[in-house]
């Protein structure tokens, strides 16, 4: 299938959904449109609200807060995950002793931590960063742990035969291997950083996209909720695209369908 055809079909699906939404909420097929619009709003209203939101500078502040929380949650979580992933992968005993605790901590649904974090870190950005941290940390931790443990034994033996000491092995073999695994989970971990930020905002804050949505919900402003969701969705897509660009830059050595050359 060629690109244009795919694009036309993709846009078609979106348009069809919008048209269906519009028809069902503005015509009396399912009952009184006024009543239905209270629950489902209409696509035109939602778009108009989004445009109105962006006509003020207010929305940019919320976007910035959410972005900042996401970045901080990702950076702290990834740093912690890399450090502990490395440490546990190189120290068998440590990994064995802490194994049940790490599993237990990871099994905990993070939402229940949000009120505690709000208590500990206040209603500002740090309680959201903490929530995002708990999500990102484990993803990166498990990936780095596995990445270091599953370094190809041949590559490792070869590097040792080249005379590398522990520090050189770390720099030339373990570290790049661990980074590969971390980057392979980059989309997931950045996504979870954002989830942490938005959920945290939703549960208690005074700024951010989650706060906007929660505000609209509390006054049954369905149009506002949908507008917030739409902005959030676009925001996520933009961040994901940026991550893809970074990933392609950093993992240039990795075999991919576009770069593979068979001589």
């Amino acid at each position: 299938m060629n690109r244009t055809k795919l694009l036309v079909l993709q846009v078609g699906v979106g348009l069809a959904a919008l048209v269906l939404w519009h028809v069902l909420t503005t015509s009396p097929i399912l009952g009184n449109p006024k009543q239905i619009q209270f629950f489902f709003s209409t696509p035109v209203d939602v778009l108009a609200r989004v445009v109105k939101e962006f006509s003020t500078t207010e929305i940019w502040r919320h976007l910035w807060i959410t972005l900042l929380e996401t970045i901080l949650a990702f950076l702290t979580g990834a740093t912690g995950g890399i450090l502990f992933g490395f440490l546990f992968a190189r120290r068998e005993l440590l990994a064995a002793v802490f194994d049940p605790y790490i599993k237990a901590a990871n099994a905990l649904p993070r939402v229940v931590l949000a009120p505690i974090f709000a208590l500990w870190f206040g209603l500002g950005i740090w309680s959201k960063v903490a929530l995002g941290f708990t999500l990102v940390f484990f993803i990166v931790f498990f990936n780095v742990y596995q990445g270091v443990r599953e370094v190809s034994p041949v590559v490792l033996a070869n590097a040792r035969m080249l005379g590398m000491n522990e520090r050189q092995l770390l720099r030339h073999v373990y570290w790049p291997a661990a980074l590969t695994w971390m980057f392979s989970s980059l989309h997931t971990s950045v996504g979870f950083a954002l989830v942490g930020a938005v959920v945290g905002e939703y549960l208690g804050s005074s700024a951010g996209l989650g706060y906007k949505i929660q505000q609209a919900e509390s006054v049954f402003d369905v149009t506002g909720v949908f507008a917030g969701m739409l902005i959030l969705a676009v925001f996520v897509i933009v961040i994901d695209a940026i991550v893809t660009v970074i990933e392609n830059r950093l993992l240039v050595w990795r075999p991919g369908p576009a770069t593979s050359v068979q001589a």
Binding site: N158, V252, W253, A263
Partner: protein, 271 residues
Amino acid sequence: MTTPLPAPAVCLTELAIAFALKGGGRYTAVEGIDLAVAPGEFVAIVGPTGCGKSTLLNATAGLVRPVAGRVEIFGRELSGLNIRAGYLFQQDALMPWKTALENVAVALEPKGVAAAKARAQAEQWLRRVGLAAFTERYPHMLSGGQKKRVALAQMLIRDPEILLMDEPFGPLDAQTRQLMGNLLLELWAADRKAVMFVTHDLEEAIALADRVVVMSAGPAARIIGDFRVELPRPRDIAEVRLEPAFHHIHKEIWSQLRVEVQKAYAQGEAG
């Protein structure tokens, strides 16, 4: 013991290597191995699949500890890794996250060579193995033969005194194998190092080596034959096969090797 002879590059005495099996018990890979490789000598080791040829190399490299016997390198008992040896692996052993040039240059880092100097030398070596145009390629962008050339340069740039090669050209196609064989002989002839070259291809062994050592089928494989190859050097891998002397020695070794290959095959069928 007052032998004035120079110490052999590699001397294996009464060597035995065993592995613990998962379900308990022990698998003896090789046993009672006596083998000496003189400095500058090219020794090929042939034997049926799974006879422990690679295990022998790994013990010489210090990657595997023997359960009995001694490994001596230039007269000194080996402890830890054999840093005087270079190892060419059968599988891909290049660091996939480094370019060809970086892979070769990094081999000089443990020797304390400055980065700029290491890169310059690595470029020279890549030119010598015919990869001058591919220095910035990552391993996945190279063909199997090209990767082997990079690995060869990576091993040789350190100037090791002993070369250990574990079926290095095994995964390559026939033409590439010949090219690589000739390249290896050419590089080796420049400053003859002691070589232990493991292969299951008898023709390759005879074409390359000064001596062909035959191992029995495992478990507890032993050395059962040791043949001198009196073919003149320099040799061309493709042409040397056409000489009558080549056929003669091939016949002689094969008559012994065939029995072991059949034994190994029968074991494979039974197991």
